[in-house]
């Protein structure tokens, strides 16, 4: 259904939406005036959809340079009386946290909903943060939808709640909500953002420690609301023996587990739609009747700890009660308790153990069968796409570093190029932390010369990441006379999250053409020398990197070449191996193209003993042709 469903003006109609689309729909129904985000999985599509609809629905949407800036923009809209939504992944919350903790103290005006997507298991993240802890630190109300319908419903509700409390409300979604598809019953769409924004001369939004008490008052108010809030619900017999406390998709797993085990008369499920603050009375009421409580949640034992504390405070009322979950190791995914995602099986195992009913979630032969299957499964490593300019850049870097001969240190961070730490990037990258952190670490290393540190330092950063978080580190480095080479791997888009625009591109989220702000303009303005080169010219790149490695001070090299997935839409030459020229294993290259350079389109034709280009996978960059020692690869322009 996708965007068609999100924009459909048919209240009551049920359409298939993903969780991300449902959040976007909720925001439309709430009549937002401002939407901002920095792209991050698993929630990148929320703003993607909103940006497409902003024009027709008359609100503003923006891909901001980072999450902090995105949040500040959304806060401004709220202060001026426009409802605003700000979307980020868990890692982005860390970036925005300073502002967010302040906003909850200063308070807001029109509804401000902060959508934070957690990625249990780190499908597309380097960490699996449970952002509820940070929401709690920020004294925020945290809502947790379990499915797309709730994602829509809670988004709408969150705006009302935010206005009632005059504080931001956090909507925590996990991957299995963001990316799951489900039927969503639509509500009505308002005509557009109401009223003209205004920031009254007498209005104040001040962060001041004296307002801490106010934050606590707001939480108390929210707790009271939560006691009778429809999203905090109980399902099961009036006096269950086992109480499952859960939120998010854990609720769906728990419901299924109870059904599978036929424990409907012994087990009750308490679903928390508001994970913070806790509806204490509601919880205690149900805890009293149970003798065992099981916590089902992703990733960390957030409820377990907070409800556990509540239980401790009310021991006499709830005694006897045993607590199960992550700490007891009953709820554990394949990687262990508190690690990665959980699933129905994990909940079935836990419940079966607690209820003392025998249940095998898998056939006893499962292990053997799985191993047999796995043997047949090809080993697929993470790697750059065919034609990815990063592969060429990394090969050039590897070469230049070897030619330089000193022990260069290569620092990286977050983006497609993080794969530089794998075989695909020839294992070059030595540090990975947060957006732009490679630059900050390079800055630090580059100042250790006074202690005799003489290794060349290279920081790698993507173009989008450059704008996001590299600039302050670059200023620091230039001012404090650090020495390193900053290589900006500029593929002219935010490739990893789906090609969202950034300030270097000359187009906004709304599709407006604006003057681009290039990396060289920014770095140049800082007084840092900048060189720009095309990484597809591997030989030339090697020379440039080699030369720059031998220079002093902070210097920037922009390796610019459009992401192959973008450029292949416009131009894709046919690349193939001339079987007459390729000499197969008689060549000294030992299958360079398929085995070492490692483009997924370069394959080995075992029957013919020759290299081959898988033309279905190839994106036509032609870099392999420039590196083949036999000149056996042909690049042919087509059409």
């Amino acid at each position: 259904m996708s965007i068609l469903g999100v924009r459909l003006d048919e209240p009551g109609r049920s359409v298939l939406l993903t969780g991300n689309e449902a959040v976007a729909r909720g925001a439309l129904e709430a009549g937002i005036g401002y939407a901002s985000s920095y792209p991050g999985s698993p929630s990148a599509e929320v703003l993607g959809v909103l940006a497409e609809l902003a024009g027709e629905r008359g609100f503003y949407a923006e891909w901001s340079v980072n999450e902090k800036v995105a949040l500040e923009g959304a806060a401004a809209a709220s202060f001026a009386g426009l409802r605003a939504i700000c979307v980020m992944k868990a890692d982005g919350l860390n970036v925005a946290l300073d502002t967010l903790t302040a906003l909850s103290e200063s308070g807001t005006k029109a509804g401000l909903v902060v959508v934070v997507s957690d990625d249990p298991g780190g499908h597309s993240s380097v960490k699996e943060e449970d952002s509820r802890y940070l929401g709690k630190v920020a004294h925020l109300v945290i809502l947790e939808p379990a499915d797309p319908q709730e994602a829509r419903d809670m988004t709408v509700a969150a705006f009302g709640l935010s206005e009632q409390l005059r504080a931001p409300v956090m909507l925590r979604c996990v991957t299995r909500v963001c990316h799951a598809g489900g039927n969503v019953v639509l509500g009505a769409l308002p005509p557009g953002p109401a009223g003209r924004p205004h920031f009254g001369r007498q209005e104040r939004y001040i962060t001041f420690v004296a307002f801490h008490g106010l934050q606590e008052q707001r939480l108390a108010q929210a707790r009271a609301i939560g006691e009778n809030w429809p999203f905090n619900a109980y399902l099961g017999p009036p006096e269950p023996e086992i109480l499952v406390i859960t939120a998010g998709p854990g609720f769906l797993y728990a419901r299924e587990a109870v059904e599978v085990l036929g424990l409907g008369d012994r087990v009750g499920i308490l679903k928390l739609g508001m994970s913070w603050p806790l509806p204490e009375k509601f919880l205690l009421r149900h805890l009293k009747s149970a003798s065992k409580v099981l916590f089902v949640e992703e990733v960390e034992p957030f409820h377990e700890e907070n409800v556990g504390y509540l239980v401790a405070c009310h021991l006499e009322e709830v005694h006897p009660l045993a607590i199960y979950g992550k700490k007891s190791r009953h709820v554990a995914g394949p990687q262990g308790p508190g690690l990665g995602e959980i699933d129905v099986d994990a909940v079935i195992r836990a419940l079966a153990a607690l209820a003392g009913v025998p249940h095998e979630t898998r056939s006893s032969d499962y292990g053997r069968e799985a191993r047999q299957l796995v043997k047949k499964m090809p080993d697929r490593e993470l790697g750059f796409c065919a034609g990815c300019p990063h592969r060429a850049s990394f090969w050039a870097l590897k070469t230049a570093i070897a030619l330089d001969g000193r022990e260069a240190v290569v620092l990286g961070d977050i983006g497609c190029y993080t794969l530089g730490l794998t075989r695909s990037g020839y294992f070059l990258m030595q540090t990975v932390h947060a957006m732009g952190s490679g630059v900050g670490i390079a800055d630090g290393l580059g100042k250790l010369g006074r202690f005799g540190f003489d290794q060349p330092v290279i920081a790698l950063v993507g173009d989008s990441t450059f704008y996001h978080a590299a600039v302050p580190a670059l200023i620091n480095a230039r001012y404090n006379r650090s020495r390193f080479l900053l290589v900006v791997l500029d593929n002219e888009t935010t490739a990893m999250t789906g090609h969202q625009p950034h300030p270097g591109m000359g187009v906004t989220a709304l599709g407006e053409k604006v003057p681009a702000l290039s990396v060289e303009e920014v770095a140049g303005a800082l007084g840092v020398p900048v060189t720009v080169h095309d990484p597809y010219d591997v030989r030339g790149t090697v020379e440039v990197v080699y030369r720059l490695l031998r220079q002093d001070g902070v210097r920037v090299l922009v390796l610019r070449r459009t992401c192959a997935l973008v450029s292949a839409r416009e131009r894709k030459p046919r690349v193939y191996v001339d079987p007459e020229r390729c000499v197969g294993d008689a060549c000294g290259c030992h299958r360079f193209c398929s085995r070492v350079f490692g483009c997924p389109a370069s394959i080995w034709d075992a029957a013919r003993g020759r290299a081959k280009v898988d033309e279905a996978v190839c994106n036509g960059c032609g870099v392999c042709a420039t590196l083949c020692p036999q000149g056996a690869i042909v690049v042919e322009e087509v059409g």
Partner: protein, 365 residues
């Protein structure tokens, strides 16, 4: 004697024994060069490699080489195979003027290219006093543009692979003695399906006399000495470095540059390109002429044709100078044997006892 890239790294590259000939460079994507330093950027993982087979600094049976190039054992253990030793020079004044000495090398190459005997020549280009680079000349003018000696280890043989890739054949090669040996090893290597083609395309090899090449740091030294002056020509007399500039001649004792001598050259056994078809050097006293050693039948035929065409003129080698040349070469060989013994590494030289005795026991074969 076989080996792979690991052996090449261990025996040649790491101990500084690479002569910088450039032949291994385009055999694979893993051997690369910067500032005349060859670096292995990635271990390809093969146990046996073409790089190891063709490298002039991997173990080489010297006498076997004689047999495979000239079809016979050598009679002269110091100077190698030679049919004639002459003084020679180019007759064309522009070639004689451009050449380092008599311009014999350039004249022969230009002649062969002009007559279509070869379609390309593997040469070494570069302005005087600047780092040279491999060059593939396709006509006499391009060949002439490469005249003049560049005193560092340019990886000229890269151009041989380029010629093969471009299907340019046959080609002539001009090189330092190490480069001549490399080409010969390539030509006779078996199992080099991919690359012996490049070797087969070589019509003949002109070798230079060469007692050492310098590290490219020499060019920075030159710059520092000459300042803003434009360097017109760099030359060595037996005891001096001579730099001709637009502001006059600068001279430095040769000892000032000895520190720049490439370590590998200290263990070179062949200062006169013993496996070339013809070898060309200075006369050590008359700049207008070259010493020309005609070694093979092919070399002899080439010279004959060039003389008939009036491109080269020759005169007899002064008999009283021959002992000087012989002593210089012998001493170089003996120094190398000593240096290798001192380093204690297994030598790349595989010499029979008979050869060793012939060298060390008598100085006249």
């Amino acid at each position: 004697m076989s080996g792979g890239p690991d052996d090449l790294a261990r025996k040649v590259l790491q101990p500084g024994q690479c002569a910088g000939c450039g032949l291994c460079l385009d055999l694979c994507p893993y051997l690369q060069v910067v500032e005349e330093k060859v670096v292995m950027i990635h271990p390809c993982g093969l146990k046996e490699g073409d790089c190891y087979r063709v490298c002039p600094r991997t173990p080489t049976d010297w006498e076997d080489m004689d047999r495979s190039v000239f079809g016979a054992a050598r009679a002269d253990h110091v100077l190698g195979h030679h049919r004639e030793i002459l003084f020679a020079r180019a007759t064309a004044p522009e070639i004689a003027a451009a050449g380092q000495y008599g311009g014999v090398v350039s004249a022969l190459i230009a002649f062969a290219l002009g007559r279509g005997e070869v379609r390309g020549a593997v040469l070494t280009a570069g302005a005087p006093g600047e780092m040279p680079r491999p060059a593939l000349a396709e006509n006499p003018e391009e060949a002439l543009a490469c005249a003049g000696s560049k005193y560092s280890a340019a990886p000229s043989l890269r151009a041989l692979h380029e010629a093969a890739r471009r299907g340019l054949e046959p080609v002539a090669v001009v090189g330092r003695p190490c480069q001549v040996l490399a080409v010969r090893k390539l030509q006779r290597a078996r199992g080099l399906e991919a690359h012996h083609l490049a070797g087969r395309k070589v019509a003949w090899v002109t070798g230079l006399f060469c007692f050492w090449a310098l590290d490219p740091a020499f060019y920075a030294f030159l710059r520092a000495k000459t300042g803003d002056a434009r360097i017109l020509r760099v030359d060595f007399s037996p005891d001096s470095l001579l730099v001709h500039t637009d502001r006059g001649l600068l001279s430095e004792p040769v000892d000032k540059v000895r520190g720049f001598v490439r370590p590998a050259c200290r263990e070179c056994f062949d200062p006169t390109s013993e496996f070339a078809d013809v070898a060309v050097g200075s006369t050590e006293y008359d700049e207008a002429w070259n010493t020309l050693v005609v070694r093979s039948e092919r070399g002899e035929a080439l010279l004959r044709a060039a003389r008939e065409a009036g491109v080269i003129e020759v005169k007899p080698y002064p008999p009283e100078r021959l002992p000087l040349l012989r002593t210089a070469v012998l001493n170089k060989k003996l120094r190398t044997l000593e240096a290798q013994a001192a380093r204690g590494e297994s030598s790349h030289l595989q010499l029979s006892e008979g050869y060793r005795r012939a060298l060390t026991g008598r100085d006249q074969p």
